[in-house]
Symmetry: C2
Subunit: 458 residues, 2 copies
Amino acid sequence: MSLDKVNKFIEDELDRFLQQLSRLVRQPSVAATGEGVKECAELLVEIMKENGIPARTLPVEGGPPVVYGELRTQSGSTPLGREPPTLIFYDHYDVQPPDPLDEWESPPFEPQIRDDKIYGRGTSDNKGNIISRIHAVQAFLSAIGDIPVNVKFFVEGEEEIGSPHLPPFINKHKSLFKANCGIWEFGGVDHEGRPNIWLGLKGMLYVELWARGAATDTHSARAPIIPNAAWRLVWALNTLKNQDERVLIEGFYDDVLEPTKKELELIEKIHYPEEIVKKDLGLKSFLKNLTGPELVKTLLLEPTCTICGIQSGYTGEGSKTVLPSTAMAKVDFRLVANQRPKDILEKLRNHLDKHGFNDIEIIARSFLEPAKTPVEDDFVQLVIRAAEEVYQKEAIVYPTSAGSGPLYLFRNVLGIPMVSVGVGYPLSKAHAPNEHIRIKDYVLGTKLIARIMSDLGK
Amino acid sequence: MSLDKVNKFIEDELDRFLQQLSRLVRQPSVAATGEGVKECAELLVEIMKENGIPARTLPVEGGPPVVYGELRTQSGSTPLGREPPTLIFYDHYDVQPPDPLDEWESPPFEPQIRDDKIYGRGTSDNKGNIISRIHAVQAFLSAIGDIPVNVKFFVEGEEEIGSPHLPPFINKHKSLFKANCGIWEFGGVDHEGRPNIWLGLKGMLYVELWARGAATDTHSARAPIIPNAAWRLVWALNTLKNQDERVLIEGFYDDVLEPTKKELELIEKIHYPEEIVKKDLGLKSFLKNLTGPELVKTLLLEPTCTICGIQSGYTGEGSKTVLPSTAMAKVDFRLVANQRPKDILEKLRNHLDKHGFNDIEIIARSFLEPAKTPVEDDFVQLVIRAAEEVYQKEAIVYPTSAGSGPLYLFRNVLGIPMVSVGVGYPLSKAHAPNEHIRIKDYVLGTKLIARIMSDLGK
């Protein structure tokens, strides 16, 4: 089957699909606060239906619904006589909170095209990919009248807060989400325009740590005799990680797997755009002066302990002399195979207790296990070939991403080989102000999805 | 001169003066944000004039005006033939920010009388004392037709942020503020109803510490290679004080004076209401299990380093996986004689540099030197006697307070013996939600001011 007509449709109908992306971005859907999440699910169902994909929301206990779409190929078998395979797309319609708002050049929920880029919260992570995948399916339907494989769309609404309600939901619907292979939510090109293919994700444990002192904030003149929650929290946090970036929780690294020889070979090929990232972030150097393959290896394979936020006492204008009664830190741990978030939580509790901080409360907010698909897998190899054809450049394969997500539910629980490709690029500013994608990446990324579908159907 | 008529006026006109206090409290005057500060100065001038005290605002370069009032006795000499002395009242019309707002039982700027107490931000600190002192002067004017001594009112508008613009102002107007003795802004009774007299204040250095990492917040997946401002700040703060509450800045304690034998004797007499304060603040024990005279000695004589606030990254609802680009802490150092705030600032800078934190920026917000008047001073002895007469209980003398203020400008620069008495009590919740005073303390505190004026005029 020639893809020319499909690719022509992808190009010809670009504006219409960018408008659909704008429509989706315009609907806020901030999982952290719940703002607009349900409305976004409804809107997405509508957009999918308009594009010929039967879709519906599936209720998720305790969380926003999953948007689920399914479309079967009309041919009973592939040209080679095999039963047509099923490809599942994993995406999420929720986005990160937009703050700090004053750093956006155009408002986060008023998408704007400028300089051949489209700006807005979610354009890169991950609404651009949702629309791209719908676009690819619609291209087959319009240009050919059928799709070459069965497709399933699985679009959740809590990825950005660690998919807390997904595990029981996946377990309940195991047969519904059966598939032969899957495409994960993100990806794109590197700074040299080479397609990047991601085979794994880190896991995550996200916690809030709370220190509590007096029942109310009090006058700081009492500091010599009244416990200060902010100090307690600072001292407790300080025991978690040293200035060499080594996590000090007892046993934290016990289950970390050494990378395979093949993984290290793949990492050697990755060109991290060091100068561009440093310039973009205004940095003179990376942590520990890392550079080259050692930098990439650290980024992809090191587990981390990150303070995402910390708050205590008076932080407004001017000087308030107050002794804070509470202090809170949000901390994420990015975990690598085979660390387990529940085990790390237990080790964190033991660590704090052992260091005299049994007064520090831990509230666990999300648990994600690390997961990855081996590069030797047939589907991985098919995607690598497809990407090199579409982009006409060598594909760069990441054995794992530095990011996290509920990949393990698809890879480990459902047993599906999963590969992540998409429409972003290294300066897309996911999770930050001025998030955007380049339109040329959107087009190529959409053509890659079409190509993968086509190759799978052979 | 009998004080009966004066005291009768104080009691008879109580409601009218509580209404004036309400009027003053209803006008927000938050120095930290500037909210309503100038309006409050104008209102205070109006109230003073209505009570027969010629008053005006004096412009202060860079800050809100000082409200200044002056009234001379009509008699050329005291009954004993001496030239009538001048008594200066130091007060401040600014207040602390009212947050956390949701902990107030009635709104902070809508004063409310319930259970013989008057609630509202500033009732205790320090608008209640301002009105009390006006009330005492007005009582003499109404009941006797004259005041026994010359009085000066000095009411500033930036005490709660460390009086940053006062030093040059005082130096410029030295002759205007000449006085023989002065009453400082706060005081009241202890839990046993005994009048408390304060002879000194701690100094203060208030700083903001800023850590800066990347130019913008970024995705926390980059944590293995991108510096995190929140971690930098936590590590830096951790070097400032250990868990035994010892400040670790090199040379911090070098200039601390040992207390005199007389001061230690006074401290022995102070009954700190340990059980009541613990219950009020929901504490099982004080820091380091302090109790008795050792607790009081620590409270009054130890310099401190207090985190008043800390902010970095995402601190809203839910889980945002962000790597913060900035982190800020507000820190106050309460200093004792003879520590000097500018010297401590220099030592703080050296300490951070020495510990590898020359990337941490220090923004100094205020400087106050410690100051005290010796208990042997004649005016101190007069106030002690007056207080014991009015309250009919033993006066408890604090060689210094745990609090801070620009006392040194009056005590050290202008050379005036200064004593602090007032209308509060230990649960007045200064700087905290539900600030209030008891009306009975207001009446006694006002009578004490009248008595001091009367005794000075003898």
